[in-house]
Each structure stands twice: as structure tokens, then as C-alpha cells.
């Protein structure tokens, strides 16, 4: 069953009097429960594609379908959860109140709210930090809290915009393990935007590679590594090395093209 489908998606941006084409005729489909990484060099429009699916941006042309229904540009789909590159935690709320925010919006209160927040905090290893304000946490902890704020309302579709892009390599791998653990159990449909090939290979079932600007779908790679995956050990396997160099070759061409633009 297809959960997300985009057809002939394009987006133009006005820029200093001229028009820039950020995304050009992008089409792809994502199956229910599939983990797809949208990979491409910086500035290739991959976040633009994600934001159009999330209704944060209107497409200049093209269509988006979620569960077969055409998505309305002014209405956020109830099943969609979004994780930002920056954590966007509300600094005036404690970590627990941030995580519980989505439940509050739905009118879920009292012990049910408290239980669901506690479960989420435990999943992210933040049990002891519920009462802390975001400013007291490290970057990795904040991003885990932000992930949980999105997951607490149990979205079936997860849109992630380079959520671990600002973290150092080791913290990033910690985050991959947290995310893989959750995904192995809950099997959300995920579209994960990244420019980090290692991250895409660690997490995804399939990599959609976008070209340099204007972003087009250049190639698609199946990532067949068995699950559950070990984010650390996986990178030592020959299969990983083989696929890495194959995708890297294609990504590198786009990276060089983007640089001469």
C-alpha cells in the first residue's frame, strides 16, 4: 500500500529579482512502513520537497497524495509528524511539558498524558530530565526530546528534515540507535532528508538520490541490510562498504556539479 506519493513536484523561489528553480519534476512513492532517505548535496531542494509534503510550503506545480487522498496545502494531515533540523523545543516549557505538548493540543490530560509522556521519555533515555528546561540539556538530549514531542501523538508518517545534522558523529550514532529501536517496533512510514550518506545507509530501506539544483530524482538505491541493524557494527561490513562507494560515486558527481553552479 502506498502511503506517500508525489507527482511532478516543482517549486520556484524568487531570488534577487530572478526566479530560481529549487525542485524540478520530482516524482516518487513510498510504501506503508517503508523508511526512505532523501539524499542529495546541499541546496539541492531535498528539504523543499519535504516541506511541501508537510504543507509548510506550497508546490509551484505537481501533486501530493497521502493514503491516496490529495493533500490540501492549508491543512496538516493528522497522521503526519515532523522533526526539524533545529530542535524547536519551547524554551519556556520543561522537557516533559514539551513532550506532552501534542497531547495537550488534543485535550488529553491527567494520568493518560503523564503515562504517555513518561513512556516516551524512557524510550529516549530522558527519564531523569523531565523537569529540566531545554536550555539545560545537551544538543543530543534536546534532539531526542524533540523527536519524542513528535512521536508522543503516535504519527504513522514521519517527515524528518536532517534532524541530526547539527550533532557530532558519536551523538549522531546514538540518535540512530534510538531511532532504529523505535522504528523496529512501530514501523512508521519515514521520509528522512539528509546529506550524510552514512546516515542514509544506516537507517533507510531505500535511498532516493536527488541531483544538484534544480533537484530531480537521479537514482534510487535499495538498502538491503538485514534488520534489526547495529548502527556501529553495520559500518564494518563489506556490503556496507560496497554500497557506500556505489552511492558515493553518484552523489559525488552531483556534489561537484553543485559546486560549479
Amino acid at each position: 500500500m502506498i502511503r506517500i506519493e508525489v507527482q511532478h513536484l516543482s517549486r520556484l523561489f524568487p531570488f534577487q529579482g530572478a526566479t530560481i528553480q529549487a525542485v524540478s519534476d520530482v516524482s516518487f512513492a513510498i510504501e506503508k512502513g517503508e523508511f526512505v532517505a532523501l539524499l542529495g548535496p546541499s541546496g539541492c531542494g531535498k528539504s523543499t520537497v519535504l516541506n511541501m509534503i508537510a504543507t509548510l510550503l506550497r508546490p509551484s506545480s505537481g501533486e501530493i497524495y497521502i493514503d491516496g487522498a490529495r493533500s490540501r496545502p492549508d491543512k496538516v494531515h493528522a497522521d503526519v509528524g515532523y522533526v526539524f533540523q533545529r530542535d524547536t523545543l519551547f524554551p519556556w516549557r520543561t522537557v516533559a511539558d514539551n513532550v506532552g505538548y501534542g497531547l495537550e493540543l488534543q485535550g488529553i490530560k491527567g494520568s493518560e498524558k503523564a503515562d504517555r509522556v513518561a513512556t516516551c521519555l524512557a524510550k529516549a533515555g530522558l527519564e531523569d530530565f523531565g523537569g529540566a528546561y531545554p536550555s539545560a540539556l545537551s544538543g543530543g538530549m534536546r534532539q531526542r526530546a524533540a523527536l519524542m514531542r513528535t512521536l508522543v501523538v503516535e504519527p504513522q508518517i514521519l517527515l524528518m528534515d536532517e534532524p541530526f545534522g547539527a550533532l557530532d558523529t558519536h551523538t549522531k550514532i546514538d540518535m540512530h540507535e534510538v531511532l532504529l529501536n523505535i522504528w523496529d517496533r512501530e514501523q512508521q512510514t519515514v521520509l528522512f532528508v539528509t546529506h550524510d550518506l552514512a546516515e542514509a545507509l544506516t537507517l533507510a530501506d531505500r535511498i532516493i538520490l536527488l541531483s544538484a539544483r534544480p533537484g530531480r530524482v537521479k537514482e534510487s538505491f535499495e538498502v538491503g541490510f538485514p534488520r534489526p541493524r547495529d548502527a556501529v557494527a553495520l559500518r564494518e561490513t563489506p556490503q556496507y562498504a560496497e554500497l557506500f562507494s556505489r552511492v558515493w560515486h553518484s552523489l559525488g558527481q552531483e556534489f561537484l556539479k553543485g559546486r560549479t553552479q
Binding site: 496538516v76 533545529r86 524547536t88 519551547f90 519556556w92 501534542g102 493540543l105 528546561y133 539545560a136
Partner: protein
């Protein structure tokens, strides 16, 4: 231990400075005739009074002593008699000024907050009213005090209005700026979690503007006090400002100085209270300053 010694050292220096100033103030002018260049006649007690006179005047204005210098507390009924007869005594004057400052502060902060929020949120309304706001804001508020006293009389109302007008723009501008610069990321995060427009206003825009509101409270309390005092200068029956004007009319520097010292004490206490309140309300920010990332 070193921490304690550090604080004691600071305290000692602060005491030295205070005592030095008081000593100079009390006795230095006596040397004026011998060294007029070192001590100009600006320090004449006729203009600036001196600590001992100020303290005496304080005892008189607060009804502890009679005008002839006798202790009222020693004579039964003299203290209360003085309070009723002398209707702008220090106690009552302080009470009136504080009360009007409080009301000016409360009305100014709340109306400034609401106004800033509404205009900050509605782009169109903000654009329409922008020139008027800029024009009104460029009037020195104090210049309006005589008009306000004319319109509202010499009672408490005119002081509250003067105080309000000093506070409201300050708070308005802060909240307006705050409501306009709410982080787009916060709004998007809320929207993507399914928040309605009203929920976004209530849970994102208001709390995020609150930080700006709280930041404006310390200057707001000073402005509220300034508004009341100026209002009392123009025309009043009671209050600290009135006390200053009365003493000035009598050429009594000591009376003015008592009022100034009382205002200083009021200012320090109110600021400290606001500071404590602010530190509590903005506790999530304080942590940032202590370290964070």
C-alpha cells in the same frame, strides 16, 4: 571561605564609600571659607542640606518629633494627633505615592501587553496604526502631565493616568516587538502537531512574548514612579512629590532630601521585588546564562 572573604571585602569598600560621602556632606562645607576652590559653594547646606538636618527633618515629617523638636512618642496622643493634623505626613504621602504607582504600573503593564499582542499579531492593524503610534511615542510623556492634571483633577486619578501613560508605551513596544519576532520554527512545530490558530496564540505567541514583557518590568516600575511624582509636582494634595514641592516653596532643602531618600528606598525595594519576580518567571532563561551550551 574565599567566597565569604570576597563578599566581606566588597561590603567593607561599599561602607567606606557611603560613610565617606556622608562625612563629606556633613562637615566639608565648614571648610569652604578656607579652601573655596576645593569645596565650591554648591555644597552649601542651604541647597543640599546635610545628613543630620535631613535626619531631623525625617523625624518631624514622620511625626516622631514635633516641629519644636520634642519627641511625640513620649507624649500620649501626640503622635496620632500629629498624623491627623499634618495631613501630608511622610507615612500618608508614601502610602498615596505607592498606591498610585501600583495602579499606574498594573494598568500600564496589562494594557500595554494586550495592545502589543493584538497589534503584533495582526500585521494589517499594526501597519495601519504604525504612524500614529510612532507619533504619540515621540511625545515626551511628561509633557502631557499638566494636561492630564487639568483633565482629571488634583486627586489620585490624574497620578494614575500619568503613571499609566509613562508605562504603557514602554511595555507596548516590548511586547509588540516580541509578538512580531516569535520564532517561525516554534509556530511551525505547533502547527505540525495540529495546533489551531487560537492554540498557537495561546501556547506559542503569548508565552514567547511574555519573555519580552518580563524584561520590560524593571524599567516599567521606575517609569510608573516617575509618572506619579511628576503628576504630584503639577498639582496634588498628597504624596511624596507634593512633599518636595511644599519643601521647595519653603526653601527647605532638608525636606526635599527626605523625600528624595524615601524615593530612593522605594525605588530600590520595588526594583528588588520585580527582579525576584523576573528571575522566577524567566527561570528557563536564567539556566541559559548559567551555562547550557
Amino acid at each position: 571561605m574565599t567566597q565569604l572573604r570576597h563578599h566581606l571585602g566588597l561590603f567593607a569598600w561599599q561602607m567606606v564609600i557611603v560613610l565617606g560621602v556622608l562625612t563629606f556632606w556633613q562637615w566639608a562645607f565648614d571648610l569652604h571659607e578656607h579652601m573655596p576652590l576645593l569645596i565650591p559653594d554648591l555644597f552649601d547646606p542651604y541647597f543640599v542640606s546635610k545628613p543630620s538636618e535631613i535626619f531631623d527633618q525625617f523625624l518631624v515629617l514622620s511625626c516622631f518629633k514635633s516641629k519644636l523638636g520634642a519627641w511625640n512618642l513620649a507624649v500620649p496622643g501626640a503622635f496620632t494627633g500629629c498624623l491627623t493634623k499634618f495631613d501630608n505626613n511622610l507615612w500618608f504621602a508614601t502610602w498615596v505615592t505607592l498606591k498610585n504607582t501600583f495602579f499606574g504600573f498594573i494598568t500600564g503593564v496589562s494594557s500595554g501587553f494586550v495592545l502589543g499582542l493584538v497589534l503584533g499579531k495582526s500585521r494589517r492593524l499594526g501597519e495601519i496604526l504604525q504612524p500614529s503610534i510612532t507619533a504619540v511615542n515621540s511625545i515626551p510623556r511628561i509633557a502631557l502631565a499638566p494636561i492630564i492634571v487639568l483633565a482629571f483633577g488634583i486627586g489620585d486619578t490624574s497620578k494614575v493616568v500619568t503613571s499609566w501613560i509613562c508605562v504603557v508605551f514602554l511595555v507596548f513596544y516590548n511586547v509588540f516587538a516580541g509578538a512580531r519576532t516569535v520564532d517561525e520554527g516554534f509556530i511551525n512545530a505547533a502547527r505540525l502537531l495540529g495546533a489551531t490558530e487560537w492554540q498557537i496564540t495561546r501556547t506559542v505567541i503569548i508565552p514567547s512574548s511574555m519573555a519580552w514583557l518580563f524584561a520590560s518590568l524593571t524599567p516599567a516600575i521606575s517609569f510608573a514612579l516617575i509618572g506619579v511624582i511628576v503628576g504630584e509636582f503639577i498639582g496634588a494634595e498628597h504624596g511624596i512629590g507634593r512633599l518636595i514641592i511644599e519643601s521647595e516653596a519653603r526653601g527647605e532643602a532638608s525636606g526635599m532630601m527626605v523625600a528624595v531618600v524615601i524615593l530612593m528606598v522605594i525605588g530600590v525595594i520595588l526594583s528588588a521585588m520585580i527582579w525576584r519576580l523576573q528571575a522566577y518567571l524567566l527561570r528557563w532563561q536564567v539556566q541559559t546564562r548559567r551555562g547550557g551550551e
